[in-house]
Each structure stands twice: as C-alpha cells, then as structure tokens.
Symmetry: C2
Subunit: 196 residues, 2 copies
C-alpha cells in the first residue's frame, strides 16, 4: 500500500465529511430540525438493507447500498435541490457533473473511475439497481413528512398531484409495493388539508 494511495483515499474521505453540513428540505422524523445529506445517506442505505430483502431478484442489494452511500456527495459543491422547489434542471445537472469530477477525482485513479461509474449509473436510473436506489431516495422523505405533520409538504404548500408526479411515479417505478403502502397514507394527509 503506497502512502500516495492512502493519502488520496483520506483526502476524499475527509472532503466527504462536508456532506454532514448540507441541509435538505426534509426534516428528521420528530420535526426538530432539517435533515442533513450525510445522515440521510445512512438512513436510506438502511432502507435498502431492510426493504431490499423483498426487492425483485435482479436487484443486488449490496450494489444499491454502495450507490446510496455515494449518491449525494455531489451536493458538497452543487447543494441540495428540493424536490418541490423550482430549479433549472440542465444547470443543476452541469453543476453536479462538475462536482462529481472534482470530488471523485480526489480518489486514486482506479477508485475515481469505479465510483464515478456507480454515480453515473444512479443518475441514469436505467438499471434495476439504480431504479430501486432512486425509489428509496424518494420513499424515505414522505415517511418523515408524515411523522412530522407534513414537513416539506407543508413548507412548500404542496398539492397531492405534484407529490404523485414528482415522488410517486419514481417510487412506483423501482418499488411498486412501497408505493402501494405509502399512497393511501400520503393521500389521507393531503385530503385532510384540502390539498387534493
């Protein structure tokens, strides 16, 4: 093991620490504060470990977990784009692309290439693993919103239709059984507030 290799690995890992300071639009379940992208990444990796046991056979859970551990690192440079907010998708994609180049580029070349490929696969959302990973990334926040009296739904004054379009369709695509479970719960919340 060369010192140079380990120096590069540690430069990446210490840079990654900054993800703990990127705040999301979602609050933690008791509503006390906004969630950061580091703890969010842990939580959805745990979702993958638990819920992945019942995913279709073509989903490889350990690959999904690796994907989820890496998926938000680009936010260190690009920030988090709230799902119910308005942002220029092409501009955001360009920022995230540059962020991936810089951040994964801190690693030794073989790992930089490997991790970048995993992140690109997640972003493209075409493989079974990436589709399931994306579903979990969309499935966790509504559960925290339900637990904290609306969370980001209340803050962004969201209607059910927008929730179903931006969140529901993505969950359904990779994990239909999770959408079946969530949909009536979410629907009831919006219904009770005259938002559906």
């Amino acid at each position: 093991m060369s010192t140079e290799r380990l120096d590069a690995q540690m430069a990446f890992l210490m840079e990654a620490d900054k993800l703990k300071q990127i705040l999301r639009a979602t609050k933690i379940a008791d509503g006390a504060r906004y969630e950061n992208s580091g703890e969010h990444s842990w939580h959805i990796a745990l979702f993958a470990l638990v819920l992945g046991a019942d995913a279709p056979a073509e989903v490889h859970i350990d690959r999904v977990i690796r994907m989820l551990l890496l998926h938000d690192l680009v936010e260190i440079d690009a920030g988090d784009a709230p799902i119910f907010g308005d942002h220029d998708a092409a501009e955001m994609a360009a920022k995230e692309d540059a962020a991936a180049t810089r951040i994964f580029g801190l690693l030794p070349p073989d790992q930089a290439q490997e991790f970048r490929a995993i992140w690109d696969e997640f972003e493209a959302a075409e493989t079974a693993d990436a589709r399931f990973a994306k579903s979990l990334d969309r499935f966790q926040p509504p559960n925290q919103n339900l637990a904290s009296d609306g969370g980001s739904w209340a803050e962004y004054d969201t209607r059910y239709d927008l929730f179903e379009a931006r969140v529901g369709t993505k969950i359904k695509r990779g994990a239909p059984w999770l959408w079946d479970w969530l949909q009536p719960r979410a629907s009831a919340w919006f219904e009770a507030r005259g938002k559906r």
Copy 2:
C-alpha cells in the same frame, strides 16, 4: 409481501431515525458541532467502501458495510459511551444488549434474527469482518480530531498513552496499515501539546 411484514420493517426504519439525534463526543471535521451517530454511521460505511479495497482478502466489504450501518443503533436506547470517558463496561453492555433486543425486535422475525447476529458479530470482534469494522470505527474519529484542532482529545484532556491504548490497539488489530499512517500524525499532535 404482507402488509404486516412491511409495517414491521417501517416501524424499525422510523425508529432508526432517532439515531440522528444521538450526539457523539467527536466533532465533525471543521469543529462546528458534535457529530451524530447517524451521519457517523454513513461516514464509516464510506470509509469501508474506500479503504476496504485494500483490506486483507478474507474481509468481505459488503458485510462490513452492513455491519457498520447497524452497529450504533443500540445507542438509541443506551446512548453513546465516549471512548475517553469513564463508564461501567458491564452496565453498558447490559444496556446495549437490551437495546438490541428491543430495536431489532421491531423487524419481522427473520430479519430481527439476521440483524441481531450481525450486531453480535460486530460486538464480539472475532471475525475478520468484525475486526476490520471495529478498526474503522476507531480510525475515523482521530482524523476528525486532527482536522478540528484536537476535538475530543482536547475536551477530555487525553494523553497519547491513553489514545494508543484505547484507540491505537483496536485500529492496529484490524487495519495495521491505517495505524501506520495515523500514528505519526496523532503522535505529533500530542507531542506539540506536551501530552506525550
């Protein structure tokens, strides 16, 4: 997929959210605030993904990552025991054992048994996977301490000998190349402050 099974999985996953509110003795790298055990769990799973590529062949990285995602959940009930603090080890072990029974017990029976076994393996620190996982759990905090002008070392007025006894020996056991990298850096920090 029975609703009962998914209800149990979700009860576990939403209980796990509380780990985001358990504060550790270590600060995040810029020293701005204490680290919580949720983001810590993400960070060391990432350490496993990066540094595990150079671990001995008998270490299975994906198992180590699963272990690290689960390793601190017992703190939801038992709290975090700072490594340089004084606590009754037997009392803490009993608290953590009860916590594991309650928290993993929220899962469907097959997963409760599977996850409990992974946690028990981590705690026993006898297999190659558990030894490597324990090494990473000890290796991450000193790097944050070095980045934040001492962090928990400064707060607990720690001397080098205690650091080597409580932290160094555990890192060396599962990841000697990481200790070789860290030791001179840590030693210099303690030396400069007359603590070695």
